[in-house]
Symmetry: C2
Subunit: 365 residues, 2 copies
DNA sequence: AGCGCTTACGAAAGCGCTTACGTAGACTAG
DNA sequence: CTAGTCTACGTAAGCGCTTTCGTAAGCGCT
């Protein structure tokens, strides 16, 4: 088993292979200008010696930096940790390093992190998480990233459309529509939305989908109570309290992500409101615990891990003239938290919930 | 607002401040040998220009690398993502970068990642997650880390004791004991353990705690059914199936982490076995969803985020002669998944569960 | 044979920083 | 007043790599 000595340098490999430093470098980088025979020998020696190039020297000397910077809201949010998992998988396959930093869903902090990553000369920047409804911030971020790309950096984002770079776009609008249609099909007419902070584009997009569905069914938006709180579990708790207080006729709550849905369920449980018999609840994202809640959560499945993989794969391709876009697709997963709307005089035996999937697929397929 | 130009170098800062390159370097690094007056001027200029040192050049030139490598099983496991969150917090405060890689709970992969990080010349290595009951692997890892430290690297681990480095040690044994005592107090006498893979030290330690508690109460281990499966939710599912099949008298299941507990609950629900009325279930870790499950999960709370913070803080201190150890402490959190053991002839109205905490504390305190 | 062209390789110049080492000038000591 | 000691700073030598440039050899062509 090759044990890399204290500091094994390329020159050692080169000498051992009987070639010059330059040739060894070229051989290992797969550049041409080296005969296949010599290249093979160099690789062989490097392998035997367990040589790993010093990335600092390599980058300093002008090679592309092999580290990818990933900006997320918080890694300990399941949505982002799954994305990060996907990114790390691909990075490992490609021999890249992943640096993770937090934006804390704060536009200014995000911009700072972006600048920091650029100053650190990472080769690839990935930004995950909603954009902001703030023209100044978005413009600055856009300019910063454009300049970074002009200097050879590669960028991809997940879930934002206004940055002029390759993007993986979750089906927010379509998912919102599917959620609303599902509830409408179940007969709900008094629907409330536990929405995240106004100003997040993800929130706006999902909400737009909900509105569209209502419109198409000829319902006015007056029937829709929208409550904006934090885009977190605690925000969901607060939102549910507000909905119960201000919109007592509500029979279904759409939480715009699973974290909020968990908060909503928690509040409903505290108020002893049976779900789904008296109140249906839906979430969005399908984080892995959604299937294990009680009741298990009807939600929109987004392929978070794949989104992470896709984002890095996009960034790895040579840059195209126009920004690429990849849609994620989505899937309505109906579980136990939704049921037909209660009739004004509640039926003694409520119908069982429509039920297509009670268990989450294995986490390690 | 300072916008770092294409490539702003230290020499520019030095010239602008009217000093030499060396002086500028010393001033920014806070070395002495520079008058406070000059140092202040240099810092001032650097600030104005938005100068950020090129970390590759800095590291190559012999300065300590400012990146910390974090090895976890999987970031998308809540246990590890919370730890990672803590590490990232401290890193941000200290201006460090965090590189995350996966070991996949595979000893060989972990060793590879370790070597890779060392080859990448990170300055600090943090390893989170159980150790392995494999003398060869542990010895190799130990040797690798010792050599890394000999060359000035800093290391801290979370949850492993055999590596001869600073360690943050979760209260696995004590937690296991507390769990078992809780169930014994509730009158359970036929207890089963859904244990993770044999060979993980975390599993062994927690199990040891359970055994100790049984012994102290004068119970033989024959009353304890231990089933080893994967240390994951799916492992918990399988374990529960086996327990139901092979140990039908069981009235309480100790899952050695929350992931397994979630799997256990899932299987019990599928079998329509009421929890906690007919079967009590406990977990370990208190991941943030534990409070939101149905029933909410009685478990041992470990301060994962703090563990991450502590680990990096330890590594940041100058190395001590003997490895430091920090215990995490633990807290038994009793929720709704545990209740008194059912009497052989089940009482018509089972007692309500002991109940001290039904809600998880806010995620962003 | 002589010319240009290509191919395979080596020599050497940096990349942007840190840090020995050298050297003024300002002291104290004898 | 000279020798020794600090202190504050500049000069220059790398850190380990990539890459430009130069060159010798091999090829086909006139």
């Amino acid at each position: 088993m090759p044990r890399p000595g204290p500091r094994l340098r390329l020159i050692e490999v080169a000498e051992r292979a009987g070639v010059s430093l330059a040739t060894a470098s070229r051989a290992l980088a797969g550049r041409d200008g080296v005969s296949e025979e010599v290249a093979a020998r160099v690789r062989q020696v490097a392998q035997e010696l367990g040589y790993v190039a010093n990335p600092y020297a390599r980058t300093l000397a002008g090679g592309a930096s092999s580290t990818v910077g990933l900006v997320v809201h918080q890694v300990d949010d399941p949505y982002f940790s799954e994305i990060a998992g996907g990114v790390i998988q691909v990075a490992a396959e490609e021999g890249l390093l992943v640096q993770i930093c937090h934006s804390g869903r704060d536009p200014d902090a995000e911009l700072r992190q972006l600048r920091h990553l650029i100053a650190q000369r990472v080769g690839i920047i990935l930004v995950a998480g909603s954009g902001y409804d703030d023209a100044r911030i978005e413009a600055e971020a856009r300019a910063e990233l454009a300049e970074f790309q002009r200097q050879g950096g590669r960028v991809a984002v997940i879930g934002r459309h206004a940055l002029g770079v390759d993007a993986v776009l979750p089906d927010n609008e379509a998912g919102g529509r599917a959620l609303a249609e599902h509830l409408l099909d179940l007969g709900h007419r008094h629907i409330a939305v536990a929405a995240g902070t106004a100003g997040l584009t993800t929130v706006a997009d999902r909400l737009a989908g909900v509105s569209t569905a209502l419109h198409q069914r000829g319902l006015s938006l007056d029937d829709l109570a929208v409550v904006h709180c934090d885009f977190t579990r605690d925000g969901g708790r607060v939102a549910a309290e507000l909905i119960l207080r201000d919109h007592p006729r509500t029979t279904a709550i759409i939480a715009l992500n699973d974290a909020m849905a968990i908060g909503v369920l928690s509040t409903l449980r505290a108020h002893r409101i049976p779900v789904p018999e008296r109140m249906s609840v839906v979430g969005f994202d399908d984080v892995s615990v959604a299937a294990d809640l009680a009741p298990s959560l009807t939600t929109i499945r987004l392929p978070m891990t794949d989104m992470g993989r896709m984002a890095l794969s996009l960034a790895l391709k040579p840059r195209s003239t126009r920004p690429r876009r990849r849609s994620t697709g989505h899937l309505l997963v109906v579980r136990d938290s939704t049921a037909p709307a209660p009739t004004p005089t509640p039926s003694p035996t409520p119908l069982p919930a429509t039920h297509t999937d009670n268990h989450h697929p294995a986490t390690t397929p």
